[in-house]
Amino acid sequence: MDKLMSDLKSQIIAQLNLQDTKPEDIGDDQPLFVEGLGLDSIDALELIVLLQQHYKIKLSNAEEGPKVFKTVRTMAEYITAHQAQNA
């Protein structure tokens, strides 16, 4: 899980072009939207693309979004659960 969260932080920084942000600046349980990293709805779309590109996961239910993209940890948990389901 730690490795996955570390990878995710780097991928989020690259995908969203978060200049001056390093992976260690993003807390595992830090909110990604509004407060915390301050991401917005366009970033949410970028994160959906990130999941598809890097983990082949298609977020089919939009209502899952706020829960999945709450923090880096919730994203990692979602990816892990999805991979276990498809193993």
Partner: protein
């Protein structure tokens, strides 16, 4: 109407207080790249991350212009661009191919439209006033400026932020190079006018002007007129256009103190400038500017910016100091530019 303020990001050190004391930046090769400022001083870092290079250039040039004019919300924002946000367009299209038309990221698509920069300026200023973008190839800036002038003349605006933006990226440079637009071999930008070969040097830039209806005591220049004409049949037609333009503005050629031409070192395209220098513009002090900014469809913005600075500071700036100058008291400037021999434009500016 008056040019109250300017903002210019170009391949020269034009951002800030202008080029009056700087020597020209020398480039070897057929591509001139804009010298960019530290954007964090002008743009919120949170917004910068979504902006490609050309958007940053455009927004920063516009912000500097507004800052100089001490205007927070202009009555209108009008932009011109021929290429638009090329880098974002290239990124978006490349990803379409790379990911087989799936998994497309929204940011590049959103930012790839030609009105992105005007819209971004409007968003940053929270300005809901008139906002328009013109994409008319070599007439893009001229169309934007004409719109701005009409807004002011028809009393729809008392001040307008107007400018143009175009960038050159690796992909477009490669394509245009293949099409023969640029000179081959080792070429220095300062030597292009001595060249006897075809082609020119590529350039880019973001230039904005604050156009105001009323005069202030800090204006750069008065913008007296603008005229465009398309694909003239021959030199005689161009001469006629110049004469008609001056006549329309009740100006005799003897009153013009300085001509700024769009000569770009292309032996074919420069012929018309040489012809005019022996006919309708004979004997006039003439300077060129494309060795400074390169050639691009909205390069005439650089000429207007240069003319405005010359008229305000009443001297030829150091960046063109290698060109002979005899005229000290410059009160009227005529700019004649053409892009690819297709889009021709004339500007008339005078001292305030």
């Amino acid at each position: 109407m008056y040019i109250r303020a300017t903002g210019n990001i170009s391949p020269q050190k034009t951002f800030g207080h202008g080029p009056m004391d700087d020597s020209p930046v020398v480039y070897n090769g057929n591509r001139l790249t804009a010298i960019e400022p530290e954007y964090k001083d002008f743009i919120d870092p949170k917004l910068i991350r979504r902006m490609s290079r050309i958007i940053r250039m455009g927004v920063a040039a516009a912000m500097e212009c507004l800052h100089e004019a001490a205007i927070k919300t202009p009555d209108a924002i009008v932009t011109g661009t021929a290429y638009g946000c090329l880098d974002d367009t290239h990124s978006f299209l490349s990803k379409m191919v790379q990911f087989n038309e799936e998994l497309l990221t929204p940011t590049a698509f959103i930012q790839s439209t030609h009105n992105t920069i005007g819209a971004q300026i409007g968003l940053m200023l929270q300005c809901n006033n008139y906002n328009n973008a013109f994409v008319h190839r070599g007439f893009s800036f001229e169309s934007a400026l004409l719109d701005a002038m009409m807004l002011i003349k028809e009393n729809d605006a008392s001040n307008v932020l107007v400018g143009a933006i175009d960038e050159i990226i690796n992909a477009s440079h490669t394509i245009l190079n293949r099409l023969g637009l640029y000179k081959q071999g080792n070429i220095c930008n300062l030597d292009i006018y001595q060249s006897t070969s075809k082609g020119t040097i590529a350039g880019e830039g973001a230039t904005f002007f604050l156009l105001a209806k009323e005069a202030s005591n800090t204006d750069y220049a008065k913008l007296d007129g603008l005229h465009t004409f398309y694909k003239p049949a021959n030199a005689a037609e161009v001469e006629q256009q110049v004469n008609n333009f001056l006549q329309k503005h009740h100006v005799n050629i003897s009153e013009i103190n300085l001509i700024i031409t769009g000569k770009n070192g292309d032996v074919a395209g420069d012929k018309i400038y040489d012809t005019l220098s022996t006919s309708v513009l004979a004997g006039k002090q003439t300077i060129n500017y494309k060795h400074l900014c390169g050639e691009y469809p909205t390069a005439a913005t650089f000429a207007v910016w240069l003319a405005a600075h010359i008229l305000k500071f009443k001297k030829l700036p150091a960046i063109i100091s290698h060109q002979p100058s005899s005229q000290k008291n410059i009160k009227k400037v005529l700019v004649y530019n053409h892009y690819m021999g297709i889009h021709h434009s004339l500007y008339l500016l005078s001292a305030c």
